[in-house]
């Protein structure tokens, strides 16, 4: 239940024609994909598919990320630009998806779900 939250920071690069990588809660990238957006973990930094999977710890993800950044950094300017160019269709798709989706409908569908999860609350051992 925990760890798949997003904030408006995700919307920033999408609106600014920027590819992005999320270093956030476990499952954040999957959540973005479930909302219909393309993600760039593998294309940009060659992050493994299980980068955010399950119990992968924060520090493990950080290490993947650092390795990916180092790989990216070694690319020539020409290669980086070429890579960015190859991502343009996905970047543009994301922008259009952001613009053309009625996010109120998404909110509606979320609220109308019958199986909304309970807010995570611990129960004290001596609870009634």
């Amino acid at each position: 239940m925990r760890g798949s939250e997003l904030t408006e920071k995700v919307a920033k690069p999408i609106a600014n024609f920027h590819p992005f990588v999320v270093f956030g809660s476990s499952g954040a990238t999957k959540k973005i994909e479930n909302l219909g957006f393309k993600t760039f973990n593998r294309a940009l930094l060659n992050l493994p598919d299980d980068y955010e999977k399950g119990i992968t710890s924060t520090v493990e993800r950080l290490m993947h990320l650092i390795r990916g950044i180092k790989r990216f950094r070694k690319l020539s300017r020409e290669d980086k630009t070429k890579l960015l160019k190859s991502l343009e269709p996905a970047i543009e798709y994301n922008y259009n998806h952001l613009i053309n989706t009625d996010w109120l409908k998404v909110a509606h569908d979320e609220l109308i779900r019958n199986d909304l999860p309970f807010l995570p609350l611990n129960i004290r051992a001596n609870s009634k």
């Binding site: 925990r2 904030t7 609350l121 129960i123």
Partner: protein
């Protein structure tokens, strides 16, 4: 179609325009709130988060094909099958007891309470946008606040009413996992994750598009240039945000201490604590020592029993990593000749259990190296003044030109 039930709807005609105003229980003196007044008076962009919430009820939901906003007095059991009674949460202050001992549940008008109970109408705690401004620095305080808030729901007689907290997150990271004395099933509190920030961004884009035609330097119009002109990319990536979070701190440290210089040639926005910005190193360190040191020690003592296993993930969840870092910074200042290994031991000594984990050792080493390399990363490639001058709505303190100057964004979200 979801029906959003509010306490009153007023129609105000201003300059021949009919504006619908939504009234729904918010904090005391809500009618004096600037953001609220801005909406009522139609003076433009709401200045508060409550303003954003209410604007959505008034403007967005009211004209949506998927939502219908109406007064609870007009509730119709036959037609309003999917309905929620809306309580707009303006800030996290709304989750705590007011000075008169009442809570937001007590603000609900008597007649509305009767409707809600009689028809068992679900309640929507409407808090779809991010704010952490009202959070206490103490997670236990926040937990206590949340627990009291939900328990006061039951005391107010809404035990059977399904309640949905509609927010960006499940509050877990901000509040921890609150301990409820009673059975949480009795409280019947669910959560749904808001995506309305995407709509907010759409509005901003639409607004900027108008400006774009007047200003050739507008940012997304020339994406072709951005993508094809190599000189547009001066830096590698754009990352971090101002407020300190565990992930941001960790990433910052990792970039800063890396031998290959990952900190350089990237745009990394400055970090600030909740209380103050890093502007003057000497005074900051003094402040840090004063404010944070003893708080950290107390915190670690309190949490010593909370670590169930020795994974760093658990550790990071259960402790305020920034405070640990700050404490170590303080200790280093007392021992100017200290070596890395001593520092590692010092960090590990805060909890003997840390020694069991290689990952934690890695964290400790990074901390130690960071400190010895020159203190907490506080330099930025763009000046603080530059940041302040480029506030643009949702891109708060985030220069839009930075997107042109970098290849990709590294988002450190939530934690």
């Amino acid at each position: 179609m979801i029906t959003l039930l509010v306490d009153q709807i007023k129609f105000i005609t201003e300059h021949d325009l009919t504006k619908t105003c939504v009234f729904t229980p918010v904090h005391e003196n809500y009618d004096k709130d600037d953001g609220y007044n801005n909406i009522v008076k139609g003076t433009g962009w709401p200045s508060s988060w409550r303003g954003s919430n209410l604007r959505y009820l008034r403007e967005e939901f009211n004209k949506s094909d998927f939502f219908n906003v109406k007064s609870i007095e007009n509730f119709n059991l036959a037609t309003d099958q999917n309905s929620f009674y809306v309580i707009s949460i303006g800030s996290l202050d709304d989750l705590k007891m007011y000075s008169d001992g009442s809570t937001i549940w007590d603000k609900i008008p008597k007649k509305s309470k009767q409707y809600i109970k009689k028809y068992n109408i679900p309640i929507l705690l409407f808090f779809p946008f991010e704010t952490t401004s009202q959070l206490s620095s103490s997670k236990s305080d926040n937990q206590e606040r949340l627990v009291k808030f939900f328990e006061s729901k039951r005391k107010a007689g809404f035990k059977k009413n399904k309640t949905v907290l509609f927010s960006l997150s499940n509050f877990d990271d901000q509040f921890g996992n609150p301990v409820i004395k009673s059975n949480p099933m009795d409280l019947n509190v669910h959560y749904a994750v808001s995506c309305l920030f995407f709509n907010e961004m759409k509005r901003k884009i639409e607004r900027d598009r108008v400006r774009q035609h007047k200003n050739e330097t507008s940012w997304f119009c020339d994406k072709e240039k951005v993508l094809t002109n190599p000189t547009a990319k001066k830096y590698g990536f754009l990352c971090l945000n101002h407020r300190t979070r565990i992930n941001r701190t960790l990433l910052c440290q990792a970039l800063y201490v890396d031998s290959e210089g990952l900190w350089d040639n990237n745009i990394i926005s400055a970090l600030e604590t909740h209380e103050f910005k890093f502007q003057n190193t000497a005074s900051i360190e003094t402040e840090i020592k004063k404010r944070k040191c003893y708080e950290l020690i107390d915190r670690l003592k309190q949490e010593a029993g909370l670590i169930k296993n020795n994974t760093v993930h658990e550790f990071l969840r259960e402790t305020d990593f920034n405070k640990l870092f700050t404490q170590v910074l303080h200790d280093v200042s007392q021992r100017p000749t200290i070596q890395v290994n001593d520092l590692v031991d010092m960090i590990l000594d805060y909890k003997q259990k840390f020694k069991d984990s290689d990952i934690l050792l890695f964290v400790a080493e990074y901390l130690a190296n960071t400190i010895l390399k020159g203190g907490y990363p506080q330099t930025i490639l763009t000046s603080e003044k530059h940041i302040e001058n480029h506030s643009v709505g949702l891109n708060e303190r985030w220069d839009i030109n930075w997107y042109r100057e970098t290849y990709f964004s590294l988002i450190t979200d939530t934690v």
